[in-house]
Structure formats: C-alpha cells, structure tokens
C-alpha cells in the first residue's frame, strides 16, 4: 500500500524544507534582533525605521513577499544573490523572503521580552559606563531571550510550515512534491496527505523540545 512512496524522493524534498527552515531561522533571528535593537534605540531615526519596517512587512501576505522576491528582485532587477542555476537562485530568494518576513515576528517577540526586563538592570549597566550596544547585548537581550523562548518557538514552528510557500516560486521543497504526488497518485490522496503532515510534525516537534530544554536551563540558572 505504501509502495508509491519509494517512487518519489520524499526525503530529498524534506531535506530542502529543512535547509530552507534552518537558513531562514538563522537569518530571521539575527535580523530580528537587530530590528529589536533599533526599536528600543535612543536614536529617533532608528526607532522610526524599525517601527515602519515591522509594521509594513508583517502586514504583507507571505506569498506576496516570496513572489515579489522572484518577480521583483530577480526578474525585474536581475538580482541573483550569487547563484547561477535557477534552483539555487530561487532557493536563496526564498530564504531572503522568509528572513525579511519572519524577522518582524522575531523582533516583536523580543521587544515584548525586553519590556519584561526591569529598567533597573539597564540603569545599573549604564551607571557602570557601558554604552547602549553593550547594555543591550550583555544585559538586556540575554534576559529578554529567556522570557521569549515560548513565543520564539511558535515563530520558528510557523516558519517551518511557512516554507511551503517557497513552492510558489518553484523551490522543490516538501509541499511541491506533495502537489505533484496528489496529481499522480489520486487513488491514495489520504495517504499522501498523512505522509506529509507526519513529515512536518517530525520536523517541528524537535524545535519545541529543544527550545523547551533551553528555557528550562535558563530558568534554573537564576
């Protein structure tokens, strides 16, 4: 009954999903943290930029963000992000789109975490002579990260599932293969769905478990 599985490279497709997720997660965490820094910075221009960026980008449907990467950046402006094969170019464009989009949610989670850190922590650090960047990096963010591990987990799980949108610009991740299989294996549609649903559960569960352990470690340390 499951022989249809062997005819397709399901593992290969999920491997692309994993790569999309990992690169996008790293990028989103970095850019999201920088955005959060801007949003709490004493420099008005930075705050304005951070606020405008987050409020605009998170309001655009992800599909539009990803398609605009392909249509706008690549086909109109000719950006190839260093790739020469179309699959590499599309993969990189998709990662860029996910980073631009997911970072807004990372930023807002972090910002709510920053607000839970007592102001006295930053004041004591400033009173020692640390500058804004040092106060943020060494005192505020480490404490903010702890209180946002829960929300960040949700953001990363959402990202894992959102990578399916990359199929709209032809990245051969899991959901693209699923569409193909649904057409070809219409007699076992239920099984195809179940297989891919299971695949995503298997990918996302470890994220929750891993970050759950990080959270536990962080709270014991206090």
């Amino acid at each position: 009954m499951f022989d249809f599985l062997t005819e397709y490279d399901i593992l290969g497709a999920f491997w692309v999903t994993v790569q999309l997720t990992v690169y996008s997660a790293i990028g989103s965490l970095l850019w999201g943290t920088i955005l959060a820094g801007m949003r709490v910075s004493p420099v008005p221009i930075m705050r304005a930029f951070g606020g405008a960026y987050v409020n605009i980008v998170r309001s655009i449907p992800l599909t539009l963000v990803i398609i605009s990467m392909s249509l706008g950046l690549n086909q109109t402006l000719g950006a190839a992000l260093g790739g020469d094969v179309l699959t590499t170019i599309n993969f990189r464009l998709a990662v860029l789109g996910f980073v631009l989009y997911t970072s807004t949610f990372v930023c807002e989670s972090l910002r709510s975490g920053i607000n839970t850190v007592p102001v006295g922590q930053a004041e004591a650090a400033r009173a020692l002579g640390l500058n804004f960047g040092q106060v943020l990096r060494m005192i505020v963010l480490p404490q903010a990260f702890r209180s946002v591990i829960g929300p960040l987990t949700s953001v990363l799980i959402a990202l894992t599932k959102n990578t399916t949108v990359a199929s709209t610009i032809g990245v051969a991740e899991a959901s693209l293969l699923m569409s193909e299989m649904i057409e070809n294996e219409s007699d076992v549609i239920g099984l195809v769905f179940m297989t891919f649903a299971m695949g995503f559960v298997i990918l996302t569960l470890p994220i929750g478990l891993l970050l759950g352990r990080v959270a536990k470690k962080a709270t014991v340390k206090r």
Partner: protein, 260 residues
C-alpha cells in the same frame, strides 16, 4: 551654603575643583518642577547625607549627578568636568561615578563575581584574571567572598546590596552615590550594609547618600542636606541639623522620623 559644613569633610583645598558641583540646576517632569535652582558643592572626601520627605527630589538629584536623569537647565560638574551630553564621554564619566540603587539591580543572569568584573573588563579594559582578582578582594572586603559564584537571587538582600557596592567600587570611582541603599532591606540586614558604607566613608571616599538612617547620618556624615519640594532647605553639619534645625519643614520632618 554654610562654609563650615562644606569645609568640614576630607582634604579639600582651594586649588582642586570640588568633586561635585551643581549650579542653578532645574529639572522638570512634564509640568512638575522637581529640582528648583539647586546649588551644591561637594568637596573631595566629603560624605553628604541627603534627607527629605518622599517626593522632595532626592533620587532625582542623585540620578542627575551621573545623568541617568537629564536636567533642563543649569550645570553639573564632576571633578571639574561638566557632564557630557551623550555618547562615549558620558559613559566615561559614569564609569567614574559609582551608583548604588535601592533595589540593588544586580544583573540577574550573571553570578556575583561576574557582576563585579563586568564593568572593569568591558569599560576599563582590564584582563579577566586581573578583574577577577580585584573582584575577589572587594567581595572579601564586603564580607561575601564565599558567595562569589552564586546568582543574585540566591543571596539575601543585605548580601546583594554589599555585592552591588563591590560592583560599583570595582570601577575605582571618584565618588559614590547611594539612593536609599537600605530601604529595601529587612531590618536585620540594614546594619551590615551601613557598616560597609561607614568603612568606605572612613577611607575617604566622596559619598552622596540618600537615606532615612539617622544613625548613619549622625555617625558617618560630614554634612546633611535637607530637601523639600525640590529645594535645598537646609545645609549644615549633622549635629546642627539634628539638634537645631532652622526651618519648620526640617523640624516637622525630624519630628515624624524620630518619633518612630
């Protein structure tokens, strides 16, 4: 200002600038006039206790001295240098001014010794080992060397406040500001912190101390500043202030404080 009072502490000479000098300082929070034309000189080595009812501006004055609170007009100088507006110069000034807060504000994700070494390593560019050595000496001196590797939440309030004093001292500050350092402590822990502060005063540290501890004011202070409604109402020696307060507000304040 009474010259007798300001001259009574430490080794102040005519040639060195006062450690702290505030001239015509005004501060508003919105419409609220919190500091009204404050003029104050604190010579080197002097221990000044700031007293006054709640809301009189004591904390604001303290925080204005290292610009945690910017002022609206007037000037504040520390060791002859006007307070820089922002950036590197301000950070450098703050490094020279130690501050101890009512709520301790130890960095909760760092161990006690890490709290004490952070400033020297990141701001003074001391090496880890050098900073650690100094930190352990300071922790020894405030009596909590055995707590060095614990986290702040694992310490009693009194121990945390002594760690906070050690953290400030590690920067080798020119002056120390204390904003109600014992107000958040259980009564049995107040004395250990006051003892630490008294020994610091005896060593000649310039100190501005906001406190309600009259015993400390009597024993360790060279000078008492009494504030009310954002103004310096009295500026005298502890003896004069406690035995012969001049203003009605000071008399009223002392009456309330000393009856319980």
């Amino acid at each position: 200002m009474s010259t007798e009072a300001s001259g009574s502490g430490g080794a102040s000479t005519g040639t060195t600038p006062p450690m702290i000098k505030a001239a015509s300082v005004d501060k508003y929070f919105g419409d609220l006039h919190v500091l009204k034309d404050i003029n104050l000189e604190v010579p080197r080595g002097q221990v000044v206790v700031v007293l006054g009812p709640s809301g009189s501006g004591k904390s604001t004055l303290c925080r204005a001295i290292n610009r945690l609170e910017p002022i609206n007009s007037g000037t504040i100088e520390v060791d002859g240098e006007p307070l820089p507006a922002e950036g590197k110069a301000l950070a450098a000034l703050r490094a020279d001014v130690g501050m101890v807060f009512q709520q301790f504000n130890l960095f909760s994700h760092k161990s006690i010794v890490e709290n004490v070494t952070l400033g020297p390593v990141k701001v003074r560019k001391a090496s880890q080992s050098e900073a650690r050595e100094t930190a352990m000496e300071l922790l020894e001196r405030v009596g909590i060397a055995d707590q060095a590797d614990k986290y702040p939440a694992q310490l009693s309030g009194g121990q945390q406040q002594r760690a906070a004093i050690a953290r400030a001292l590690a920067m080798k500050p020119k002056v120390m500001l204390f904003d109600e350092p014992t107000s958040a402590l259980d009564p049995e822990m107040v004395q250990e912190v006051l003892d630490t502060m008294t020994s610091l005063a005896d060593e000649g540290m310039t100190m501005v101390v906001v406190t309600h501890e009259m015993g400390f004011a009597r024993r360790a202070a060279h000078r008492v500043i009494f504030m009310a409604d954002g103004e310096v109402v009295e500026d005298s020696t502890p003896t004069d202030f406690f035995t012969a307060p001049k203003s009605d507000r000071a008399k009223d304040f002392l009456g309330k404080i000393l009856t319980h």
